[in-house]
Each structure stands twice: as structure tokens, then as C-alpha cells.
Amino acid sequence: MPFNAYLICFSGILQRELLRFCQQRTRLLSALIRPLLWLVVFAAGFRAALGVAIMEPYGTYITYQTYITPGLCAMIILFNGMQSSLSMVYDREMGSMKVLLMSPIPRWFLLMSKLTATAILSLIQVVIFLLLAKFVEVDIEPLGYLSAIPAIFFIALFLGALGLMLSNLIKQLENFAGVMNFVIFPLFFLSSALYPLWKMQEASLWLYWLCQYNPFTFCVELLRFALYQQVNFDALLWLTPTATLVIIIALLSFSPLKGAKLKRGN
């Protein structure tokens, strides 16, 4: 097929995702309210108890709100990625996945387009959140927003692919919703999103190691540095092969009719 056809296809998939997102206003609201609650209520409550010592990339003492902001951005991306995969499980159950599969465009391109569209939606949500975070004195330099864009995009592709991989394992919609929570909360809490890892190390060594090698920690740290126009090379070195592997597995293991075939066989 000509190159133009691929562009049109990607544009169509992106347009559909944006349209559906705009129509589901509660989705945007919940995507923003969740991290804002953490930022405004939780962080305010713990502000006095949890001061953060000077650490990279911050050059000075920072408030707890400033510290958890990258973690909350990563939380938005994680939820959005899982939600996108949930919608794929729904499409598969309802039969509308077949429309996608009848396309002459290669399947891997269709899935990558879907992941990219999800990443763009994540980017939009994170930018809105960061602008709202200014009201609770989380100040990021304008260039920081720009330098964070590639990091947000990369993390969104990775977490979206993770969601897709999970959706390939789960046959039914009800099961996937449960698994989402089983995956999201451990990933989030066992990371540096809410507290620096050296604090975790003081409390428990085995928890520290779990957090240290949690891929979500690398996502948070990559974003934390990117917001301050720096690159966390450790995080990037860990994330690049991990994300590549997850994306490849997600694309290869995609089984569009998993649930449908099982129903007919029964």
C-alpha cells in the first residue's frame, strides 16, 4: 500500500481515539481529579511530616508536592494506558475489533497507531495536570514542559504496551478490570512516585530492591529529570530495552479473537 495510505490510517485511528475521549468527559475528569486529590489533599497533609532532602535533579530543598508531581504524571499515563487496553478488550468482546482486523494495513501498524494515539492522549492529560499543579506552587520552567514531552511519550508507549500485553492474557472484560487494579497499585506504590527510595531503604531492604527495579520507578525518574531539562541515563538505559521488549511481546501476542473463539468452542 502507498505511504499515504498508512498516514491516512494513523490519522483515522488517532481521530477516533480523540473523538471517543472528548465524548467521555468523565474520563478526563477522573484522569485529573485522581492525581489532583493526591497533590492537593494527600501532599498537603503530609507536607509537614515529609520534607524532602536535597537530591537530584532538584538543586535545593523542595516541597513534597513538587516531589510527587512526576509520580502523579506517571500515574496519569499508567491509568490512561490501562484504560485504552480495557477499551480494546471491550471492542474484542463486542465484535467491533473485527473492523480493525479487516484492514489491509499490517496489524503491527494498526496496534502501534493505537498505542501512539493513546500516548498522545496521555500527553494532553499530563500537560493539563501540570498547568493545574501551578496553583499548588508546583512551578516548572517553560522549557521543562518541552523537554518532558519526549519522556512522557516514551513512557506512555511503554505503559500502553504493558496494558496491551495484559489484555492479550485476559479473555473477559470483567476480569481485566480486576487485573488492572492488581497491576496498577503495586506498580505505583512500589516505586519512587510517593517517596524517595533512600527512605524506603531505611525501612525495608527487600522492599527497596523491589522498588529499585520496578520499571515504573524508572518511568518516574526519567520524567522527574526531564521536567528539569535533564536526562536520567540510568533510567533511560533500563527503560529502553524493557520498553522495546514489552512492545514486541505485546504486538506478537495480540490475539484479536481470544474471547470470541473460546465462546464458540464452548
Binding site: P2, G95, L100, K261
Partner: protein
Amino acid sequence: MINVQDLSFLYGQKKALDRLSFELTAGFNVLLGPNGAGKSTLISLLTSLYRPSSGQILINGHPLNSGLAGATANAMKVFGVVFQQSTLDLDLSVKQNLVYHGALHGISAKKTLANATQMLEKLELSDRLNDKVRALNGGHRRRVEIVRALIHQPKILLLDEASVGLDPASRSLLISHIRAIALSDKVCVLWATHLFDEINDDDQVLILNQGQLQISGQVAALCHQHQVSNLSQLFNQLAASGVNDAF
């Protein structure tokens, strides 16, 4: 256009299709069978949604699922499909659904709507373009699916019980429209149904029952050959005797 050779398919241990062999050319072809005969399974195999357990499917002389780069993609370019289960996005409008489908075939929005205009008029949907699909009744949704299947001007059109849920007037309109397309555009139509009244005497019919091809040929000729007055009698006769008589 479609050549099926010794095609079999199993759901686990259960044989859904058993050594089917037939050939379809341009025109209105009917796949007749009761519920559970294997009609939807056959359509899923023809569209590469499932892989056959054994046998081969050739589309315009080229094997489907050959593993060759682009083999399935080339087949998908010529197929238009209306599935038994609705596949429309309920949260989008008719226009948005059509444009999305066109995009998946690499067709721009402008060209998609240009291709769809005439069909929308014929199926009396022109004034529903901006309505959400959720607001349409079952019959209108089915018409939208048919317009959508024809946007990329396929040469092979597969319809799996496309008239289900339509009132008699809508069914008649739909079938006559599809027959006209088969004739004028030389499209190979495979109309899967379990309703005898949708079939004309000059149609080519494949009768499927319990996963086996019972008989195939022109309706009038088959009735004459088996000395019955209509297709319903022929089907009952075949079901009772368990005769298999392929092309």
C-alpha cells in the same frame, strides 16, 4: 474469485466445518443453512479471522494465509464484510464510522464520503449522516454496515445474515440493492442466510448443514434434478437422507 479446497475447521475437538470444497464467481451466491451450520465460521475463515485446521482458500488464485508478505493484506483489499454481530462504534456518528472505516483502508475522508453518497441515498440514510449510531434502530444500523462494507469498492462482498432484524420492506430494499451491485459491478456476493424467501430460483446456492456442504448449484436446476418444487423441500430431503453432492 473464491476457491475453497477441502476446508476444515475445529473449535477445540468439535468439527465446525468438514472438508468443504466449492468455487464462487461474480454474481449473487447464497450460503444457506440453519443456525449452527457453520456459515459464520466459513465467513470468518474466508476473512482470515480464523486459520483453517486443514485445506486451502484461494482468492483470485492466490492462497490466503500463505505466510507470504502481503497475501492477507491483498485479500483484505478486495473483501467487504457485514458480520452477523454489529461492529459499529455506537459512540460515533454514521459519518464518523464511515470515515474511520475508510481510513483503515487508506482512503481519505473526502473520498470515503464521495464513495458513500450514492449508497446512502439508495438506502435512505442521507439525512442520518450526523446522527450517533446509538440513536439508530437495528435496521438503520444494518444499512450503515452495508454502506461501510462497500466504501472501498470491494470485489467480494460477504454478508452474514445481514437482513436479521429488518422489517420486510427494508429486507426487500436491501437484498435488491445487493443483487444490483452483484450484477452491475460484477461483485462476487456471498449472502449467508437461513431464510428461504430471500433466495431466487436463478441464484447459485451452497447448502450447508452441520458443517458439511450438502449440495451446490443453481436453485432451479437443483430442484429439477431432485424432483422437488422448492428449495425448502430440497433442504428437508437432503437433511433427512444425509446426501452430499458437491459441484
